[in-house]
Each structure stands twice: as C-alpha cells, then as structure tokens.
C-alpha cells in the first residue's frame, strides 16, 4: 500500500507544482462547452435541454486530451522503471496513477460543472443528478484512459492513437452518464457498474501493457 500512497501523493504534488495542468483541463472543458453553446445558438429552451449532455460530452473530451501525459513523463525521466521495480503489485501502481489522474483532472472538471450548468441554463433540478452522474462516472473515464495511456507509452505523440483506442470504450460511459444526468436511476446503476468493471479490467490490462512496453 505504501507505493500506492507514494505515487498518488507525488502525482498530486506534481499537478499542483507544474503550473496549472488542472487549470488547463478546466479551461479546455469550459471552452469546449462555450463552443457548443455558440454553435447551437442563444435559444434558451434548446440550450437548457442540451445542457447536461453538453457538459458530459465536454468532460469526456477534456479527459481524452489529458490522457497522453499520464505515463509519458514517467517514461521520459526514468521514473517508470522505479515504479515497476518497487510496485508490488504493478496493478496497484496503475490504480494509483489512475486515481491521481481522477483527482487532478476529473475532480476539477466536476467542480467546474455547476458553472457550466449555469451558463447553459441547466434547470435547477438538473444540477444534483448531473454532479452525481459525473462523480460516479468520471472514475471509469480515468481508469480506461489510464489504460489507453499505458498501452501507448512507447509511442511518440500518442494523442490521436489513444483517442481511437479509448473512445469506443467511453461510449457506454457517456450513454449511461447522460442518462443518469437526466435523472434515470437505472442509468446511474449501470454507470456505477461500468466504473466497477473498469476498476477491475483497467489495472489488469494496464499493468500488462506497462510490462510489455518496457521489454
């Protein structure tokens, strides 16, 4: 467990230090939502109907653009060797990286979501389900995303490759996420199941991918 705490703590510290990684993610999130709003037009009724789906789509896009960094810097400076060497097991180290990604990228998005809700005229009753759906679903985005990052860590400029690999796996998360944000309880349940499923499969596949990438 000590390696989990060490890696998680270090990645949080790195995100706080490296001037504004989290801020950049939130900025992307807000700008993407504004692009949607401007493209759709100022008609309030339409915007407020689309608000929750737009927030979810933008959260997904903001996550996608953040994935490449998860393992890349550890590869470049040699820390990944250290993590592999000490991680017992490597699956736990993968979970630590995914958890840190959630805390530094997804959590700021969730905190910024109510602001976007206001801008997009989300009905008052829609705020709570939107936040709950993001809280339940975002871990799945981070876990599957970290898997994508682990798979491509030996590839230079892997951004597009990660998107192609991971977007199909994100489809169910998006579908159930938007459903849950609309207040559908079954969707929220499926979303939770998706997160748990990802918590099992992503560390297994991700740890294997890291080992193969070091060979």
């Amino acid at each position: 467990m000590s390696s989990f705490a060490a890696i998680f703590g270090r990645d949080i510290l790195l995100a706080l230090r490296a001037s504004g990684g989290a801020v950049q993610g939130v900025l992307f999130f807000v700008i993407a939502a504004l692009i949607f709003a401007i493209a759709i037009g100022p008609e309030i009724a339409m915007l407020s109907r689309l608000a929750a789906p737009i927030v979810w789509a933008c959260a997904l896009l903001a996550t996608l653009v953040s994935l490449e960094r998860i393992f890349q810097s550890d590869v470049e400076d040699g820390s990944l060797d250290v993590i592999v060497e000490t991680a017992d097991p490597l699956e736990l180290a993968f979970l630590a990286k995914a958890a840190a990604h959630w805390a530094t990228t997804a959590l700021p998005l969730i905190l910024a979501a109510p602001l976007l809700g206001l801008l997009l005229n989300l009905p008052a009753a829609g705020f709570a389900p939107l936040i709950v759906s993001l809280l339940v679903g975002a871990p799945a985005l981070s876990l599957l995303g970290a898997l994508g990052s682990a798979l491509t860590l030996s590839v230079r400029r892997a951004g597009l490759l990660i998107t192609v690999l991971i977007a199909p796996l994100y489809a169910p998360v998006l579908i159930f996420g938007v459903g849950a944000a609309a207040g559908d309880e079954a969707a929220l349940m499926f979303l939770g199941a998706m997160t748990m499923f990802s918590a099992i499969i992503a560390p297994l596949a991700g740890a294997a991918a890291i080992r193969f990438n070091l060979d």
């Binding site: 270090r10 510290l13 400076d77 040699g78 060797d81 250290v82 060497e85 000490t86 070091l214």
Partner: protein, 209 residues
Amino acid sequence: MSGAPIHDGRLDLHDVAVMRGGRKILAGVSLSVEPGESVLVRGPNGAGKTTLLRAVAGLLPLASGKAAANGEEKPDERRLRIIYCGHADAVKTPLTVTENLRFWAKLYSAPVSRIEASISALGLEHLTARRAGDLSAGQKRRLGLARPMISGKPVWLLDEPAASIDAASVARLTRMLEDHCAKGGCALIATHDRLDIPGARSVIVEEAP
C-alpha cells in the same frame, strides 16, 4: 536507525541470453558478484551493457539462462533485492530535491534517516530546497545516485553513474560504494569511461568472436 541493516548481497548469472526486438543482444553471460564486491562492466557503446543491467534487474525478460539475486531467480523476487539506476535519473524536475528524496523513501518504505544520510553522502546539503529542474546535469545525477542508498537494497546496478559528474562527486560515489560493500552489499556498474573504483574487478562486454 541510520545505516539500517543491509543484508549481504550477491548476484549470480548463469549462461544468460537477452533478446531485444527479435535480435539477440547478449548470449552466454556467466558472472558472479560476491557480497562486498563491486564489478565494473566495461565495453564500447552499444555492446549491451545497459541491456545486461536491465535484464538482471528484471526490467527485461531473459531469453535463456538464469539470474539470481541472493539465490532468488523469479523476476518479482529479484526486483525486491535489486535496485537499478539507469541513464535517466528518475528525478522529477518540478519537485525539490527533498521532495524527490522523500518520494523514494516512501516508495522503498525506507526510514527518514536514510534521506539525511544520502544527502550528506552525496554532498547535497546546500541544494535540498532547490527545484530539481534548476539543478545542473551533474547535480541531478548526484541526486539520482541517492536512490540506491535510500532503497537500502543489497544489490546495486548502476548504469554510467559517473556520467556528467565532477571529480569530487566521483570521489563521493566511490566512498558510497565502498560503504555499501563494507556492509556486505554488492554492485554491478556499467561504464564506458575510466571510472576507477578501488578494489573493483572489471569484466568486458563485447561482441563475441
């Protein structure tokens, strides 16, 4: 707690072969490093020194043969006894020197006393609060060399440890290695240059005839 017990370390390679990208790089490597011994691995660039060290560390699979650290052959068991310091220093540049050291100490479940011991052994006292990104290449290398000491592991694999460090720091490195060996540890050190560790044996990695 300082100088927490380092158990004896020994390394035994028997007929080791390593492949990379479908190419055989090394074959028929047999070598023993006894407790208290440092062995320098010399040889020209590209001969396979790094490949050998990474394979011994368990970061690359062996194509055939046996490698054992303190008698343990399985890669996961071997990894617990071996520390590998590669070309990259594994230093996080946005963090301070102390923060880097503390991260390693946590990762290796090492006592805090080892952080202080490594700071003085490598002459990092005046740099502790500095951001690692502001260090010179040589200073960063020294910081990276604190890691084996913090890990407290008995078998050290150092890849070009003297790269870009000055004479005074080479002397510190030498003292650190002597200390490690005096406690019963062992080290395998890859170097292409004239690094001289008193009492160290040398082996040559080169293309087989």
